[in-house]
């Protein structure tokens, strides 16, 4: 099947648009092989931004998507969900990080634009080779282990136990309570800590 790639360049408000020439990159992306559509938008991660991608997938029959915006460590899951919602396998998506690695760290706009261009080109080349991957599921054992029975451990244990689930609460000391048990009164209400 012929590759049909959609490329979306995010302004991230002024975060990206202020430091790289978004229009230029969009134009460049539009000219790359297999790219069917290249657009830019103020906030790609917003609902209207995601809708643009979904519509293009449906209307233009895109089968690959590249978003050039922030770090994949931040929004890769978001956009994977977006393409999945439009019926595309979430792994047929790639991100180009032109905010953390370009806009925010370079001062020369021309150089930053040039680098962003390269990153977009890399993402487009890469996504063309992506293959759909099957998402796998494993069952979840309903019991939970909590390590440390201070205030955090006790609170979490009680909530899960009150939800009717088994909890193993492991504490190194002879008694539960942790640091909290040492306190007499707690700020700012001065109620007791027991």
């Amino acid at each position: 099947m012929e590759c049909k790639i959609g490329v979306y360049i995010c302004h991230c408000g002024a975060n990206i648009a202020g430091a790289v020439d978004v229009a230029k990159i969009t134009e460049y992306a539009g000219g790359l092989p297999y790219v069917a559509v290249a657009r830019d938008y103020k906030f790609m991660c917003s609902d209207p931004g995601q809708d643009i991608i979904k519509n293009d997938i449906k209307e233009k029959g895109l089968n690959r998507v590249v978003v050039a915006s922030c770090s994949p460590r931040l929004h890769e899951p978001t956009f994977r969900r977006t393409v999945a919602a439009a019926g595309l396998n979430p792994y047929l998506f790639e991100m180009a990080n032109i905010r953390e690695q370009c806009a925010w760290v370079h001062t020369d706009k021309a150089m930053a634009t040039e680098k962003a261009r390269a990153l977009v080109s890399a993402a487009v080349r890469r996504v063309a080779l992506h293959e759909p991957l099957e998402t796998k599921e494993v069952p979840v054992n309903p019991a939970t282990l909590i390590v440390g029975a201070g205030i955090a451990g006790i609170q979490a244990a009680l909530e899960i136990a009150d939800g009717g689930r088994q909890v193993y609460l492991v504490e190194r000391e002879p008694s539960i309570g942790g640091n909290m048990a040492r306190l007499d009164k707690t700020f700012p209400t001065l109620d007791c800590s027991a």
């Binding site: 994949p72 990080n97 953390e100 690695q101 370009c102 925010w104 760290v105 930053a112 040039e114 890399a122």
Partner: protein
């Protein structure tokens, strides 16, 4: 025109790539000559990647992990 080297950085997603992100969020400025390729671990790096980069005109390759 002064020499502008092209450097390919192959970075681990969990440490150095995260570090590059951190540089971004802290707005630390550095030269735009390095272009980053993300891998899930620097253990993934094959000698072929480095040769490829040099073949395609890189002046340096930085592997971090």
């Amino acid at each position: 025109m002064s020499f502008e080297p092209k450097i390919v950085g192959i970075l681990c997603n969990w440490c150095s790539y995260a570090g590059a992100d951190l540089a971004g969020t802290s707005r630390k400025k550095y030269a735009p000559n390095v272009r980053i390729v993300r891998v899930m671990c620097s253990g993934r790096v094959e000698p072929g990647f480095i040769l490829k980069a040099f073949q395609k005109g890189a002046d340096g390759v930085l592997v971090c992990g």
